[in-house]
Structure formats: structure tokens, C-alpha cells
Symmetry: C2
Subunit: 294 residues, 2 copies
């Protein structure tokens, strides 16, 4: 029995991480720290990021050949932008060993499940997942072992999801300190459209609106250290990742964007009309809801 | 020479703070800590908050009678919601001693200056100001001595502002660790509409849109700890304060809200049309601007 196995009774002999960035790299670091993993293979598109991941001790070996890197893996964690997930899955599924579990950390779940499930073999299992944790940073250098501690991880099994594989991935996330929640895939995409995707669209729009005003007016962003900087932190997130999220969760996102527009428009009318009572109520209602979030 | 005066050569023998909340209370604490103030009188509307301010050692004595409390003050700091500032000023100006300096921390400056300047006496000086510092908390309990350290404080003198009084208030803010910036009053209100008032309107609308969706749908806010909670922190700010800001900076705010609506609407159309390139550019532009903010 090796040292790792004495520390945790959950163990993945061989893990492959495709996309060793913030999400993939952090899972690798956390599983290693928990003594819950044997060899970790890092797979990616560019050598530069992979080399960093190797240098930082996030993975044990690296390759740009996804099929080769996954051949002996017990678990493959897909952590590339959501619109690349199906292509990556297609490239590796034929070479996976029987019993391998494929799981992912993609921010949108319906389209991913729809695209990957038809590609599966009978002896390869898919468990779609989404850790509700992150920062605005990306790449291997952004990864850290405690990212998932005390955070939720949503798994969205479908009716074809293997129950043993599901249980195994639940234990994986519990091992890195997350609370696992099972959720219907459509509900996941609507909830995330509301609490994550919409806020990102709002933040990106806010920075563009204020920042470009600046260009031909006074140096507005010069005064924006502090509050504005903190509020708009999420607008520093990776453009590719967010383009992919916006495009794969389009319907739910548009619905939430339109809902936001109605509320914002109503508030603007209350400001324009100088409506004391309505303005107070609007702010008060919002404060109450916000204060209830633990 | 007392101990206080040896610590700092800036000194206010008697300071009156009207509205001993986050902004007023923090200035009192900071000046005291710098040894830059003798007696501090706390003035307010309700006894409960005043009593807390006294218990917390923020002020030396308290009164609900503003005129009485300010009678001997060298400096009066107005820190009540912006739409109350003129009434409060009107109530105290007749009883101020000759040479007294009236200054404020209100978040909107044009209307305040317009309303208070006509009320002034020849021997009482007004210096309009706005510390760019704050939290979403309010009341005396929210005050802390380091709030202004390393932050900017904007003063917006008009052509009738006394130069000596201006210099004195500049030194006051420098004493509590702020970098003082002088700015044209109209520019102040436009800059703040962009970097502070608009973001608050956005955050309040976002929480209302998402939180009320929750009511008849799935328990969305339950999943909103973390990112959403952090992003919407400013929507926990005081409704009275923000109603007053929205109403007194109406024109600049509406202009910025409409500007934001255009950008947000453009983004929504790009999402609807699934326009890869435009979406990437929108996010990329925003990330670049955001990353430039120090
Ligand atoms: N960031 C968050 O807050 C967060 C939270 C939850 C879930 N997620 C999801 O997690 C996934 C990864 O996000 P992240 O934040 O970790 O991004 P990241 O830090 O940019 O990492 C993604 C990695 O994937 C690699 N990659 C990109 N395209 C690839 C391809 N076609 N084939 C192989 N490798 C590729 C990139 O390396 P190269 O540049 O070398 O290709 C990069 O290192 C996304 O699906 C995202 O939606 C993100
Ligand atoms: N919070 C920020 O981030 C921030 C930043 C910069 C500037 N400001 C400005 O600073 C001022 C104060 O804001 P704050 O955050 O310190 O608010 P706060 O914590 O709520 O304090 C305001 C205080 O004023 C008192 N008050 C309210 N109406 C009054 C009246 N008519 N007469 C006398 N006292 C009255 C309140 O006490 P009672 O309830 O007992 O009346 C309260 O303690 C506002 O003008 C605001 O725009 C705020």
C-alpha cells in the first residue's frame, strides 16, 4: 500500500487532465494534495502552458497527443473551453481503456451532454460536472490546490449516466473539499445563466460602456481604482471561455439578459421620473434579497 | 502644547460631525487617531445611532440639536444623505461661529453646491468634498479609522470657495491618509455617475432580476454564494443613500444608464446571432480595459 492510499481511501491510479488551466490544474493539485491520485498526465494544445504545468509540479508528464495521453487513464478530466469539449472527447474515446470515466468541468451542461453522449462506447462512462469555483485568471499558473474547498460542485447526470461512475466522481469532488449537488441539466443551465453568465455579460458591458466613454471624454478609468475595479473583476475573465459559454447557453442567457433589461429599464424610468417611493422600494427590495445570500 | 498637537501639526480644536455613520464616523475616528482633533460633537436624527457612536468612542458628546451642536465648531462635517444636506446646512448656518468651515462628504456635488452656497454667510466657508471610499455598510458601527487611507478624496471648489478654507480641508484629508484631488463639480458628477452610480444601478437591477426570478422558479439564490454574492455586494448599500444619489445626479446618471443599455443590447444581439468574432472582440476589449485599471 503506498503512502497516497493511506491518506485517502479514494484513489485514482492514473488521471488525465485535458486543459491544464485554472480548473484542470487546480483539480490535479487538490487530488495530489489529498493523496488521492497516482500519475497525472497533462494534455493540452500549446506546449508553453503544458511545460509550465510540468514545472509547477501540477502534472507528472505532458503530451499534446490527447489520444495517447489518455490511453491508460482511469479518469479523464476535460477542462477546455466548452465548445472544444466534444471534439476533444471524439479524439480520445476510441483509445480509452474499458471502464474509463470521462468527466468534465464545463460551465454549460446541456449541449455538452448532447454532443458527447452519442460518441460514447458501452464501456466508457460520462459524468458531466461543473465546479462552482473559479477566479478571473487562467492558465496553469492560475491553478491552486484549495480552489474547490468549501465550494459546490454540480453534477448533471442524465438517464444514461452509469451510477457507479457517478458515485466515483462524487467521491472525487468530495475528496477535494467540495459539496456535491446533483441537478437536472436544464435547471443547471438556467441557474448558471442567472447567477454567473448574466453577471459576466453585465460586467463586460459595464467596462466597455465606461471604458470607451473614457476614450473621448475625461480620464474616467483613472478614478476607478477601488469600487469599480472590484465590481468589474469578472470582466477580466478569459474571452474565449466566455464566448463559448455565451454561445452554448444562448437561450437561457438571452432570457436572463432580457429579464435584466426590463428591471434596469424600469429603474431608469423611476430615476427619470424622480419617483422617490419607487426608487426606494427598488433599492430596498434588492438589498433585502442580497442580504439573504449567505 | 498637548499630546495631540505634537503628533500632527494639523489640528481642529472642535469638530462637529452631522450624521455619524460610515463616512462621518470614519473621519472622526481617523482624525482622532492622527491626534488631529480636540473635541468631537456627534449630531444626528436618531438617538440610537448617536448613543452607539458615543459608546464606540467615535464622538465625545452627542446631540440631536444640530444648531446647538455646531455653535462652537471650527469645522462642521456634513455626512447625511445628499438630499438632506441643504436642510441641515440651513439649520446650522445662522448659529455657526465666524470663520467656521462647512464641508461635506456627499456623493453628488453640483446640486449640493447650488443649494448650500446661497445659504452661506460672508464669514462661514463651504468646501464641497467627496471621499472615494466606502463599504456597503452603514451607521456608526460600520465606521473604522483606516477607511480613507490610500484612497482619493475629491474636493470640488467653485469660484466662490475661500482658498484658505480649501487648503485647510485639503490638509484634513491628507491627515487621514487620502490623496486629495481638485475637480470641477460637473466633471465630478459625470465621473462618479460612470464609475460608481451606474455600477450601483446595475447591481441593484441584477439582484432584483435574479432574485425575483427565484421566487416563482427554482431556488436560484441558493447557488449564488461565491461569485454572485461578491459581484452584487454593492447592492446591499443603503436604499436612502442611493435614492438620494440617483435623484440628485439624475441627468448624468440617465446618460450613463442609456450608454450601458446600448452596450448591453449590442452584446445581447451578438449572443442571439451567435456571432463568434463580435463576441470575442467584445469580451477581449473589455478585459483589456479592465486589466489596465491599477
Ligand atoms: N474559470 C472559471 O471560473 C471556471 C469555473 C468553472 C468552470 N469553468 C470551465 O472550465 C473549463 C476550463 O476553464 P479554465 O478557467 O480552467 O480555463 P483556462 O485556465 O484557460 O484553461 C483551459 C486550458 O485548456 C487548454 N485548451 C484550450 N483549448 C484546447 C483544445 N482545443 N485542446 C486542448 N487544450 C485546450 C488551454 O491550453 P492551451 O492554451 O495551451 O491550449 C488552457 O490551458 C471551461 O470549460 C470553463 O467553462 C471555468
Ligand atoms: N457609503 C459610502 O460608500 C459613501 C462614500 C462616499 C460618500 N458617501 C456619502 O456620505 C454621506 C453619508 O453616507 P454614509 O454611508 O456614512 O451613510 P450612513 O452610514 O447611513 O450615515 C448617515 C448618518 O446620517 C444620519 N442622518 C440621516 N438623515 C439625517 C438627517 N436628516 N439629519 C441628521 N442626521 C441624519 C443617520 O443617522 P440617523 O439614522 O440616526 O438619522 C446616519 O447615521 C452620504 O451623503 C453619502 O452619499 C457615502
Amino acid at each position: 500500500m503506498n503512502k497516497a492510499q493511506t491518506q485517502s481511501d479514494f484513489f485514482i491510479p492514473r488521471l488525465a487532465v485535458i486543459g491544464v488551466g485554472l480548473i484542470g490544474g487546480s483539480l490535479a493539485l487538490a487530488l495530489r494534495e489529498a493523496g488521492a491520485v497516482g500519475e497525472i498526465v497533462g494534455i493540452g494544445r500549446g506546449l508553453e502552458n503544458l511545460q509550465k504545468a510540468l514545472d509547477l509540479g501540477i502534472v507528472d508528464r505532458i503530451t499534446q497527443d490527447a489520444a495517447e495521453g489518455c490511453r491508460d487513464a482511469d479518469v479523464v478530466f476535460l477542462a477546455t473551453p466548452v465548445r472544444t469539449l466534444a471534439d476533444v472527447a471524439a479524439a480520445i474515446i476510441p483509445s480509452l481503456k474499458p471502464g474509463a470515466i470521462l468527466t468534465d468541468g464545463g460551465s454549460v451542461k446541456a449541449q455538452v451532454a448532447q454532443e458527447i453522449e452519442p460518441l460514447l462506447r458501452d464501456d466508457v462512462f460520462l459524468v458531466p460536472g461543473h465546479p462552482i469555483a473559479g477566479t478571473e485568471k487562467s492558465g496553469a499558473e492560475a491553478a491552486f490546490a484549495t480552489l474547490y474547498q468549501g465550494r459546490r460542485c454540480i453534477l448533471t447526470p442524465t438517464k444514461s449516466t452509469d451510477q457507479e461512475a457517478l458515485l466515483f466522481i462524487q467521491r472525487m469532488w468530495a475528496t477535494v473539499g467540495s459539496e456535491v449537488v446533483l441537478m437536472d441539466v436544464t435547471k443547471h443551465d438556467r441557474v448558471l445563466a442567472a447567477i454567473s453568465h448574466l453577471p459576466h455579460m453585465v460586467a463586460y458591458s459595464l467596462v466597455n460602456a465606461v471604458g470607451s466613454y473614457d476614450r473621448y471624454e475625461e480620464n474616467i478609468l483613472e478614478y476607478s481604482a477601488g469600487g469599480f475595479r472590484d465590481f468589474t473583476r469578472i470582466a477580466s475573465s478569459d474571452p474565449t471561455m466566455w464566448r463559448d459559454i455565451a454561445l452554448t447557453n444562448r437561450d437561457a442567457l438571452i432570457e436572463m439578459m432580457e429579464r435584466f433589461e426590463r428591471f434596469f429599464g424600469e429603474l431608469k424610468e423611476d430615476v427619470r421620473q424622480g419617483d422617490d417611493g419607487k426608487l426606494f422600494d427598488f433599492f430596498q427590495r434588492s438589498k433585502q434579497m442580497r442580504d439573504e445570500i449567505l
